[in-house]
């Protein structure tokens, strides 16, 4: 037995060496790869052949259909891809067996040994070409500005294959992803038919590990492995640089937060976020929204979040705090923040499986509203979850408020939602009346008795509160209103 190793497509070998195909079992020769050429001089040698090998039987061995059948069977057991035998006639059953075993059966009129030498030379040339191309490709990668650029180059090198940076603990979930791929490229929805090739980016001692993953056709598996191996160190360096930049950018904020003894933003207590705002240097002149981003592991995901943030809101800096980031984003003129919300959804959707959550405040104006905006964004982000990774303050369902809002925030909501009511000079007594009225299931008699006021007075206050905007006739609104009033005014039992 003699053999040679490299890697080439079966179709290329068939076409280049005029082999006659007997079976149509190989539906897509582009996907079949040949790694080695093995000349079988003794039948037992087949058992030493490796996967994806092309087996060539010498004339002395390829005598009769039974020997071809045995060779096909051994080829199948060894995961060989093709069997080449000298030109001869076959029983239909032999061809049928090749189909069943999914072995491409080929014949040749050439001498087996010279043919094997030519095939081996072909494989060798293919292998050398691959190495040269990967070396040149590594040179291109060195000039990439960021990880996204590297992924784009890798994707292009792999004929538009989907390439992404993943956490080992969450395979298939992209932290970074190559830009949109050409239409003819292997699509992610066809992943089941593609081979996932990976290369580790993080050093072996780092946990959780980051890996580069590409989804390629089987025949391109080896090439993709070489390309990813070449790209991994550069991605690692760019990620480290990105994290360092993010850390450097957020240093002043971190210092302020540390001085203010800020708690983790995702905990129940509200952070003392006033200190984050430098009102003297407020630079936003139009309407804006505050964005709050939570991440389960700020250090690991920092570079990723920055990358996705700058992909859509490059002008607004991210302010880091213990459990995430805040940002003040000026609205596009006249759109009410719609463009911002759309951009955030697009940019951060891939990070949802990694636990990244976003909250967006209502529209704010001036530095005075910045603290309220931060609270709104912080609260909205707290309410975000896997199915709704981005929550806007306006989108908070009223029924969620009672279990969530602190007193000041309840007051703020009432001001926002029921401004007429809150501007009423008798708001406190109206709130007291409404609260008692609701807590007595709408009984004027018992609630007025409890408050020690006349029933007509209670009726008048309740009616006045309704005229000011409180929706006491809507069952869905009754409980939130009740809770808001209790939280804001501290009235009731």
């Amino acid at each position: 037995m003699s053999r040679s190793f490299a890697n080439a497509r079966l179709r290329d070998l068939i076409e280049a060496h005029a082999l006659r195909r007997l079976t149509a079992v190989e539906a897509d020769p582009d996907r079949s790869v040949v790694r080695s050429i093995v000349v079988i001089t003794e039948i037992d040698d087949i058992r030493a052949a490796g996967p994806d090998s092309m087996l060539l039987l010498t004339p002395a061995l390829a005598r009769g259909g039974w020997m071809i059948s045995v060779a096909l069977r051994y080829a199948w057991e060894r995961h060989a891809g093709a069997l080449v035998v000298p030109e001869q006639s076959f029983a239909d059953a032999v061809i049928e067996l090749a189909k069943r075993l999914n072995i491409t059966l080929l014949t040749t009129e050439r001498e087996i040994v010279p043919l094997a030498l030519d095939l081996s030379r072909h494989l060798g040339e293919t292998g050398a070409g691959t190495l040269t191309r990967v070396q040149a490709f590594a040179g291109q990668l060195a000039g990439a500005a960021d990880a996204t650029e590297v992924l784009r180059l890798v994707s292009r090198e792999l004929r538009g294959a989907e390439v992404q940076l993943e956490m080992r603990d969450a395979p298939g979930v992209a932290m970074f992803r190559s830009p949109a791929v050409p239409a003819e490229a292997p699509r992610s929805e066809n992943r089941d038919r593609l081979t996932r090739v990976t290369a580790r980016v993080s050093p072996p001692t780092t946990q959780p590990a980051e890996i580069l993953a590409a989804y390629v056709p089987k025949h391109d598996e080896d090439n993709a492995q070489e390309v990813l191996q070449a790209a991994a160190p550069i991605v690692r360096a760019l990620l480290a640089e990105s994290r360092l930049d993010a850390f450097r950018t957020s240093l002043p904020t971190i210092s302020i937060a540390a001085l203010a003894n800020s708690h983790a933003a995702s905990e129940l207590d509200e952070p003392t976020i006033e200190l984050l705002v430098d009102r003297a240097h407020w630079a936003i002149h139009g309407p804006y929204a505050v964005v709050c981003i939570f991440a389960p592991n700020v250090e690991e995901l920092g570079a990723v979040v920055h990358n996705h943030w700058f992909g859509g809101m490059a002008d607004a800096p991210l302010i880091s705090f213990s459990d995430g980031w805040l940002a003040f984003v000026e609205h596009a003129e006249g759109d009410g923040g719609e463009a911002l919300r759309r951009a955030l959804r697009t940019q951060f959707a891939p990070l949802a499986p990694l636990g990244v959550r976003l909250g967006v405040s209502s529209t704010c104006m001036g530095s005075e509203q910045s603290v309220d905006g931060m609270r709104e964004a912080w609260l909205s982000a707290r309410l975000a979850h896997a199915e709704a990774p981005l929550v806007t303050f306006e989108g908070i369902d009223a029924e969620l408020l009672p279990r969530l809002v602190p007193r000041e925030f309840a007051t703020q909501i009432l001001r926002s939602r029921f401004p007429s009511f809150m501007l009423d000079g008798s708001a406190a007594s109206l709130a007291e009346a409404v609260t008692e009225f609701l807590e007595h299931q709408g009984s004027i008699a018992s609630s007025s008795a409890c408050l020690g006021i006349h029933r007509n007075t209670l009726q008048q206050r309740v009616r006045r509160a309704e005229q000011a905007g409180l929706e006491l006739s809507d069952p869905a609104q009754v409980l939130p209103v009740h809770m808001l009033l209790r939280a804001a005014f501290g009235v009731g039992h």
């Binding site: 039948i43 009769g64 059948s69 051994y74 239909d92 067996l97």
Partner: protein, 361 residues
């Protein structure tokens, strides 16, 4: 024990089962000659175990040998083995005390039945092949280093010769050549030995096994019951029920000196649709199932008709016919290294015996 008509019929059935011959007619005719002799003379063949003979008793091996072509149309007259044995006795200057068949299968299993009655000697329950191999030197006697000669041969028209020859392999070449000159076959008497040597080196119980097999197959039991009985008593290892789909006249080059031309039959298994290939050369040499060699010489490969478990011949390999391919092990001696070298796949210029799937044996 003395054998009766029924016993002889059963032995014929068992002999055909073990051999799966190209042409069963000769086997039937030989049985008919023995039965006719029994009727006309009142004699009965006597089958005895070797233990019943003294150590110094002279035993001869008798059987037809052909020249590698299909058996001749020249039918045996009936006294050819008497003549060969007498020539051998004359050369050895003593009487033969017992005879054994060259092969306990096919026509040669019936030869000693008639000759034993004619010579008035017992048939010893033993043989040197345990089945049938195409060449006379493919015997356990060869493995034991025993002499084949002197060899006495008689042809269809009464011509005879005495070959003073030592090695079985050389005897094979000479007898095969003489058979061609005689007209296609030769009735041989050879491997003269003492009973003690036969006791030590022969394959024993092989004739009575044919009787047992024949009794089962000739019974009125349902097919599956017959198969169960054969599994338990004779060690049948596999049965494939398959339909013939193709016959190839020449599936591989003919090996020099081998009788007949090689051919191949393709069948599709009835239940699972697996592809079954039979390699044929006078006998069934090998069975492949989806490219896996399930059995090969010296395994006994034979065929039965599924309906009544009657013995099929190679002539039943016609496209569309459904047959049961039955595999049973040969004599254990053949699976030793020197045995495989003499009668295994390599001996038939097929493949290394290591390729054979014997995992479930």
């Amino acid at each position: 024990m003395h054998l009766d008509d029924q016993d002889l019929t059963h032995i014929r059935t068992g002999a055909l089962f073990v051999a799966c011959s190209v042409d069963p007619l000769w086997c039937h005719e030989q049985a008919d000659r023995a039965l006719a002799h029994m009727t006309s003379s009142g004699a009965r063949p006597k089958l005895v175990p070797i233990e019943q003979l003294p150590d110094d008793a002279l035993i001869a091996t008798i059987g037809f040998v052909n020249n590698g072509l299909p058996l001749s149309e020249l039918r045996p007259p009936g006294d050819e083995f008497v003549q060969s044995v007498r020539i051998l006795e004359h050369a050895l200057e003593r009487r033969v005390d017992g005879i054994i068949p060259l092969a306990a299968a096919n026509v040669n299993a019936l030869v000693p039945m008639l000759a034993g009655m004619q010579l008035d000697v017992p048939v010893v329950d033993a043989d040197p092949q345990g089945r049938v191999f195409p060449r006379l030197h493919q015997t356990v006697f060869t493995l034991a280093g025993m002499r084949a000669g002197p060899v006495a041969v008689t042809g269809p028209i009464g011509e005879s010769a005495l070959l003073t020859v030592e090695t079985p392999r050389h005897a094979e070449r000479l007898v095969s050549a003489l058979a061609g000159e005689f007209g296609g076959w030769a009735a041989t008497a050879m491997y003269p030995m003492q009973a003690s040597d036969l006791r030590q080196h022969g394959l024993h119980g092989t004739v009575s096994r044919l009787l047992r097999i024949g009794r089962v197959l000739d019974s009125a039991e349902p097919t599956e019951h017959k198969y169960d009985l054969l599994r338990r008593s004779e060690g049948i290892t596999r049965i494939f029920r398959a339909r013939v789909v193709d016959i190839a006249g020449l599936s591989r080059p003919s090996a020099h000196g081998e009788p007949d031309r090689p051919s191949s039959a393709i069948l599709i298994e009835e239940d699972e649709g697996r592809i079954i290939q039979l390699e044929i050369q006078n006998e069934l040499l090998m069975v492949l199932v989806d490219g896996v060699i399930e059995a090969a010489m010296p395994d006994i490969i034979t065929m039965l008709h599924p309906d009544a478990a009657s013995v099929a011949s190679l002539e039943d390999l016609w496209v569309g016919n459904v047959l049961d391919i039955v595999v049973m092990a040969g004599a254990p001696r053949w699976y030793e290294a020197d045995g495989l070298a003499l009668v295994g796949p390599e001996a038939h210029q097929m493949m290394p015996s290591g390729m054979l799937n014997r995992g479930n044996r």
